[in-house]
């Protein structure tokens, strides 16, 4: 039984991936594919734009990763190790990415930084008479800025535990050897955080390679293309599956190389392991006058990274339409018409409903399937079960957009194509690895004797699974359900190719609104999602007792 369930889940995962690889080597457009060809690869690699494309992709991903991880690490150090006033502003950091509604970080920053209509450029002109449009959301710098800020929480979360659980005697022995606090921080504290920093950096780089909204909403209008936006264009505009899959394979290769470096970075950290496991009291450094500098850093990050985007979003959702003058008149021109308009839109209502139902279903099904698969691998003596370990992790190497390219091709011409099943399956494959890795991490940590005691006392696998494994896993199941729900409910990059009229997905609907210029309505929709996310966080906090700080 558990084996059968794993086989079904494994099959669902591996099929779109194989399809992408096969399709990239076949001729023809939409549906009509026959014969084997490398023409798509020749076109991709023969393209004069391939080098700029590679260049843009790497520059964008690396720039964002550096900005985000660096800033996140610095904030983690400030919070954990200094007596900076007001650092509580940053301590809610883990909550911030959870509350960000779909595509809203891009919308907020485009409204702020757009060259002509952007709020900041207009302000510069009005108050300082600067005509030159200094800020440009549709530039590489604009993209790196927006996605870099989105990378901050991960850097913070990776490095905070390092600075908090730091063995203080490593620093104390430096003091005794004659090293002053600044020197000690630079030579001992920061170098010891390097492995965690590298891990976060590589992971953020990978997220940059796979990210969809920023390249499409900010890169494409500014004619800055990366692989993801090329895959999207060749699929959504040209309907050329061969070309889309060929670009996809290049993207997958880049992802796999990055994953390889991620594994290396984790191994590298083993050298840094010395005797640990004691409860340490971490010493907070009195950094004297510098605490005002770090306070400024914390405060500016809070404003720029958290407060301003949310405020802009909420204000824009409550003005009749977006332009600079209307924006500045707020709140005298406050209206709720955007909300009523959006709520009357059938595409939004269906999308909202579908996203709620599907994300709940996906959260439940991935978590259950993940536990069953992990149980099969680690707790039954099924021959060849280790294969599932590979299959379960495989989708991580595939950017979500590429997965949905594969699913589009699989379902093309079948009745499933224009249905929620395709969408549901896409989300399932995309989020399964997170559920699986969470479950296998927890199952490995449960002492095998607990299971064996049940086997010995006559339990069958389902008794062991339902009476022993599942109850013990309960705490981590709550976290995984919540995480996958809030990720799925704002997914754009899997859903964008799999929606169709009548089968909308809320975040994709907002994405379309924004692309056709209905900015205020998109913002109103975003605020509705914000309310849903707030409810979800409250439920998680009180029902599952999840904590949103470290």
């Amino acid at each position: 039984m558990p084996l059968l369930a794993s086989v079904i889940a494994g099959g669902a995962i591996i099929t779109p991936i194989v399809i992408v690889l096969v399709k990239s080597l076949s001729t023809g457009k939409l549906g009509a594919s026959v014969g084997f060809t490398v023409a798509n690869y020749l076109r991709v690699f023969g393209d004069r734009d391939i080098l700029p494309l590679l260049n843009n992709s790497i520059l964008y991903a690396a720039g964002s990763a550096l900005l985000g991880t660096g800033l996140g690490g610095l904030l983690a150090w400030i919070v954990a190790r200094t007596n900076t006033p007001g650092k509580a502003l940053v301590e809610l950091m883990p909550l911030y990415p959870i509350l960000m509604p779909p595509i809203m970080k891009n919308i907020a920053w485009i409204l702020l930084l757009a060259p002509k209509s952007g709020i900041l450029n207009n302000m510069l002109q009005e108050y300082f008479g600067i005509e030159a449009q200094i800020f440009n959301a549709f530039s590489m710098a604009g993209m790196v800025w927006v996605f870099g800020l989105a990378c901050v929480p991960l850097g913070y979360l990776f490095l905070l535990p390092v600075f908090l659980s730091f063995d203080p005697s490593l620093e104390e022995s430096a003091y005794i050897a004659g090293s002053r606090p600044v020197h000690t921080t630079l030579r001992i504290t920061f170098p010891l955080a390097v492995p965690a920093f590298l891990s976060a950096l590589v992971l953020n780089f990978l997220r940059g390679l796979r990210s969809f909204e920023t390249p499409v909403l900010q890169g494409t209008p500014g004619n800055i293309n990366v692989f993801v936006s090329r895959v999207y264009d060749s699929m959504a505009l040209e309907f050329n599956t061969g070309l889309a899959t060929a670009y996809s394979v290049v993207l997958v290769v880049l992802s796999v190389i990055t994953l390889f470096f991620y594994i290396r970075a984790t191994r590298f950290s083993e050298r840094y392991a010395t005797i640990t496991g004691k409860g340490y009291r971490v010493k907070v450094l009195d950094i004297g006058i510098w605490k005002y500098v770090t306070f400024l850093a914390v405060f500016v990050y809070f404003l720029v990274g958290i407060a301003i985007p949310f405020v802009v979003l909420i204000v824009v959702s409550m003005i009749p339409y977006f332009d600079y003058e209307t924006f500045m008149k707020f709140p005298s021109n406050m209206v709720l018409s955007n909300y009523t308009k959006v709520m009357k839109h059938p595409s939004f209502i269906t999308g909202l409903y579908n996203s709620l139902v599907l994300s709940i279903t996906i959260a439940l099904s991935t978590v259950l399937a993940g536990i069953v698969m992990a149980f099969t691998i680690y707790r039954t003596r099924t021959y060849g079960a280790k294969v599932f370990e590979f299959i379960g992790t495989l989708p991580l190497a595939f950017p979500p957009l590429v997965l949905s390219v594969g699913l589009v091709i699989v379902f093309l011409g079948t009745p499933l194509y224009n249905s929620l099943w395709a969408l549901g399956l896409g989300l399932f494959v995309a989020y399964f690895p997170y559920a699986f890795r969470n479950a296998s991490g927890s199952i490995v940590n449960i002492h095998k004797e607990l299971d064996e005691a049940a086997w010995v006392h006559g339990a069958k696998w389902r008794h062991v699974f339902f009476k022993i494994t599942l109850p013990i896993l309960k705490p981590s199941v709550g976290g995984a359900l919540f995480y996958i729900f809030i990720e799925a409910i704002r997914n754009v990059d899997v859903a964008v190719l799999l929606t169709s009229p009548g089968h909308e997905y809320g975040p994709v609907t907002l994405f379309e609104y924004f692309r056709v210029g209905q900015w205020a309505e998109a913002a109103a929709g975003g605020v509705i999602y914000l309310l849903i996310l707030i409810v979800a966080v409250s439920v998680a906090k009180f029902a599952f007792n999840l904590k949103f700080s470290l």
Binding site: L170, S173, Y175, I188, P191, A273
Partner: protein
């Protein structure tokens, strides 16, 4: 010139009194702070290093004030010219053995050649030559320990502080290392402070021992003195290998005194007189059981402190024999070497005589 002088040190953590008015002076050599966990010994060591700021009191090293709460003096740890070996060694995992040892030397702005010479000399001293390019995680626990020692010694500190340096090693290595650490420190010729909760370790390694409990110094003396003449009942019980019993002083006769011991059916024992105390005072006596003699026959007339008991069992323990003898309501375990004059053991309850030299008994009259 005393290498270390501590006056009136007080330190409170929340509601725990870690140091309760601690004062002492230390001339030179190796001094151990001995006591159970939580007695304040590590806090005392960390205060001397400047890693902990006391609430009151003063510390001087080599007659230079390092900490003085009253005068607002607090020399930072990096300017105290001391060495410190941490319990978990605290080797910097991102640096090689060489860089770990060279770290402090580089900060002193010494020439490259000189640094190299000193690092290699320190590593040779601890027997780790040829391991310079290893990382700490590639070394065994004992080797990491040696690197930590070398790192401290390379700086030629005025005083080296060791915080339970052997507690992470296995028993056999611990015994080897404590002899070696003493040899090493004596060879270098500096003074050392050594924190431990293991009395055997304290006695083998040091020239003097401070026994602490609940933030107070109970006794400060040479190891022999502490063993033979514990000044406090806590010290006696902590040192172990001794029997601690309630007694009452009967009379004082010159340098001797007579006590009665209720647990020995009120038997009277003679032992060296205490410094204070008078007839009728309650006291405690400490009998070192290793110095009790057993015999199947009566001891000659005039032998000190002869008791009569029943041997209930005898157990072999390696090369030793444990005799369990019931005297009054107390069971005494007398351990003897196998080669000692053999005592017959006729099964359960054989009559046995015991004699205890008066020098094997100490008396404690707790204030």
């Amino acid at each position: 010139m005393a290498i270390l002088k501590v006056q009136g040190l007080i330190k409170t953590f929340k509601d725990v009194q870690a140091l309760d008015n601690v004062s002492f002076e230390f001339e030179k050599g190796i001094l151990s702070f001995l006591g159970p966990s939580g007695c304040g010994k590590t806090t005392l060591l960390r205060s001397i290093a400047g890693l902990e700021v006391p609430d009151a009191g003063a510390i001087s090293i080599a007659d230079q004030v390092q900490t003085s709460v009253e005068d607002g003096i607090l020399v930072p740890p990096y300017a105290r010219k001391i060495g410190f070996v941490f319990q978990n060694y605290a080797l910097w995992p991102h640096m090689t053995v060489y860089s770990n040892v060279a770290f402090g030397l580089k900060l002193r702005k010494l020439g490259k050649e000189e640094i190299k010479r000193k690092v290699l000399a320190a590593l040779e001293l601890v027997g780790l030559q040829g391991r310079e390019e290893r990382y700490p995680s590639q070394l065994s626990g004992g080797q990491q320990q040696r690197v930590a020692l070398a790192r401290s010694l390379a700086l030629e500190p005025r005083l080296i502080l060791l915080d339970e340096p052997l507690s992470n090693l296995d028993a056999k290595l611990r015994e080897e290392m404590r002899v070696e650490i003493r040899k090493l420190i004596k060879k270098v010729g500096i003074s050392a402070l050594y924190v431990t909760h293991d009395q055997e370790e304290a006695f083998t390694i040091s020239d003097a021992v401070i026994v602490m409990e609940a933030g107070k110094i109970l006794q400060y003396a040479a190891p022999d003195d502490i063993y033979n003449h514990p000044a406090h009942s806590f010290v006696a019980s902590f040192i172990g290998h001794a029997m601690l019993m309630d007694a009452r002083i009967v009379t004082l006769q010159g340098s001797d005194c007579l006590v009665t011991v209720p647990e020995f059916n009120g038997a009277t024992l003679v032992l060296p007189a205490p410094k204070q105390g008078a007839a009728g005072d309650a006291c405690k006596i400490v009998i070192r059981t290793t110095e009790i003699r057993l015999s199947n026959e009566k001891f000659p007339e005039g032998t000190d402190n002869v008791l009569e008991g029943l041997m209930t069992s005898r157990e072999h323990r390696g090369g030793l024999l444990d005799h369990r003898v019931q005297v009054g309501s107390k069971e005494i375990v007398v351990t003897s070497h196998k080669l000692c004059p053999l005592i017959r053991f006729n099964g359960d309850g054989g009559k046995t005589f015991l004699s205890i030299d008066k020098s094997a008994i100490s008396i404690i009259v707790d204030p």
